[in-house]
């Protein structure tokens, strides 16, 4: 009982009142304006298909892996896509290890819906043998630090990791053309996924009696807000999904205003992801040149 009290976010009355009263004059505690996004940085490590996102204090790691499996019977020539979330108690003491909490499930669903409903990843190209063998893509999202707005950060982590993921190339051969040969990456260059567009989630929080809208709420603002809405859009301004689970009711005009703002932010974030992926790809190809050119490495070593 006592331990549980120590683990929950203990916000003071002062903080709650201050966040609300400061917002009345368009001020936020971290010095942002209501429609400013926090600083976003995308880091790729050496391995393909992994990313680390930093959104203010929030940190999320995304990791994509692929596996050959039997397809679902109703979709014999489509690969599968699955999202797994990992909320470690290290990120926030209120997260319990073991069973996923309500927020963990909601987060997974939002990211999943954004990618699946908008058909962002071309699943048909993941088919190897119709009805027998397809690629199953698994996205693992690890929350490393919770500084608020985990949904947006996780979504960006998933998109960044998907953009850099490469699967080994497969060909069908053998005697009766039923044998699958998986070419190791040293023999044939692994293939990237076909991603049609990047659906970016943008979250809004509604705070106080006046339902003041803020974008990208922090951990403390999340403790105060009456409700939140996540809109998933791509760079063309097409709405892929909206999540508004309970909380305060919102006017239609406010939703439309949010969507307009979100489309600007989505375009902004998309370009950031694309730039990061591009520089990763350049670095990746440069790395390969070094590996196949011993004379160059010899020079380097000197």
């Amino acid at each position: 009982m006592e331990q549980r009290l120590a683990n929950t976010l203990n916000m003071t009355v002062n903080e709650k009142k201050f966040i609300e009263s400061a917002l009345l004059s368009d001020l936020r505690v971290d010095g942002r304006r209501p429609f400013d996004y926090r600083k976003l940085s995308i880091i790729f490590v050496r391995e393909d298909g992994s990313s680390e996102i930093q959104l203010g204090q929030t940190r999320v790691m995304g990791f994509v892996t692929g596996q050959l499996v039997q397809p679902y019977r109703d979709r014999p020539n489509e690969g599968t896509l699955a999202i797994y979330t990992e909320f470690s108690p290290m990120a926030d003491p209120s997260f319990e290890s073991g069973r996923p909490g309500e927020s963990a499930i909601e987060l997974g669903r939002i990211v999943d819906r954004g990618l699946r409903e908008s058909r962002a990843v071309d699943t048909e190209s993941l088919c190897v043998i119709s009805g027998k063998l397809v690629w199953s893509i698994r996205i693992d999202l690890h929350i490393i630090d919770n500084g608020g707005n985990l949904v947006d950060a996780s979504n960006i982590a998933a998109l960044a990791a998907l953009s850099t993921f490469r699967r080994p190339e497969c060909t069908i051969g053998g005697e009766d053309d039923q044998e699958v040969i998986v070419h190791p990456p040293e023999v044939r260059e692994p293939l990237p996924l076909i991603i049609h567009h990047l659906p970016v989630a943008v979250t809004f929080g509604f705070i106080g009696k006046e339902n003041i809208v803020v974008i990208d709420p922090t951990h403390h603002e999340e403790g105060v807000m009456g409700g939140s809405m996540t809109a998933t859009l791509n760079t063309n301004g097409e709405v892929c999904a909206i999540q508004k689970a309970g909380g305060e009711g919102v006017l239609q005009s406010v939703i439309m205003q949010c969507l307009r703002i979100a489309s600007v932010k989505a375009a902004d974030i998309t370009s950031k992801i694309k730039n990061a992926v591009e520089s990763y790809n350049t670095e990746r190809s440069l790395r390969k040149i070094k590996r196949h050119n011993p004379s160059l490495t010899a020079v380097k070593n000197k």
Binding site: E2, L5, A6, N10, M11, T12, V13, N14, E15, K16, K17, F18, S21, A22, S25, L27, R28, V29, D30, G31
Partner: protein, 241 residues
């Protein structure tokens, strides 16, 4: 590891970085002396060794302790901290002071406190309190009185905003001579600040914008060098006027 000379004088380690395992004092060579040990030190037979990484501090005549910066706070008797009321019990208020366990604030630990006039604190009230007792394995005990039984500055903090910091930043904020950032901010702006050694500080001012500016400036200054702090503050304060 090199063997430490047996006549290690305390001055060699004082104000130096020490790591767990360092032996800072050899008691066998210091007869008839009393020393007091603070956090991060322990006695192993005849030697005093370090248990955590940090700077070794010494005050005359005989106090030794290790100082380091953490996000988490280990309660020590005599510390002034900022606590948040989490629950109310008939005998105690349960207060979160960022420590490993919730702290108890007895309902009678107020100036002139009697059973008749127990204060009413709702959950989430911010308090400036003193740690009276901190033993391992027990919940720390707090008090809203100074050693003489006076209210002094302790009690509820109204309005304002509580910012989180590291324990190291809290200590620099309280240091004397005053922290240059705080001094520079104080020359241009008028605000009220309460610093808890447990890595929390509370800022209040007549305008919300001042609270936000001061709070963020202090938080940001932690990762800046002295010169950077000066440049940052000059830029910041120029923008106000």
């Amino acid at each position: 590891m090199e063997a430490k000379p047996s006549s290690t004088s305390p001055s060699t380690f004082v104000d130096q970085l020490v790591v767990p395992g360092d032996v800072i004092l050899d008691l066998s060579s210091m007869a008839n002396q009393t020393i007091k040990l603070g956090g991060g030190l322990r006695q192993d037979g005849d030697s005093i060794s370090v248990m955590k990484a940090g700077n070794l501090r010494f005050t005359k005549p005989n106090k030794y302790w290790v100082e380091s910066s953490h996000k988490r706070y280990v309660p020590n008797a005599g510390d002034n901290v900022l606590g948040v009321v989490v629950d109310t019990k008939p005998e105690n208020f349960l207060v979160d002071i960022k420590g490993p366990a919730l702290a108890f604030l007895p309902v009678l630990a107020f100036e002139g406190g009697t059973r008749r006039n127990i204060p009413k604190f709702e959950v989430g009230t911010l308090l400036y309190v003193r740690v009276v007792n901190a033993n391992t394995g027990m919940n720390p005990e707090l008090s809203c009185m100074d050693a003489n039984g006076k209210a002094a500055e302790y009690g509820v903090l109204k309005e304002g905003y509580m910012f989180e910091s590291s324990t190291g930043l809290s200590r620099t904020l309280l240091s004397s001579p005053p922290y240059p950032v705080l001094e520079a901010l104080g020359k241009k702006l008028s605000f009220e600040i309460a610093v808890g050694i447990n890595g929390r500080f509370w800022v209040n001012a007549s305008q919300s914008s001042t609270v936000i500016l001061v709070g963020n400036a202090i938080q940001k200054s932690e990762s800046l060098s002295l010169v950077q702090q000066k440049i940052y503050l000059e830029k910041l304060l120029k923008n106000i006027q």
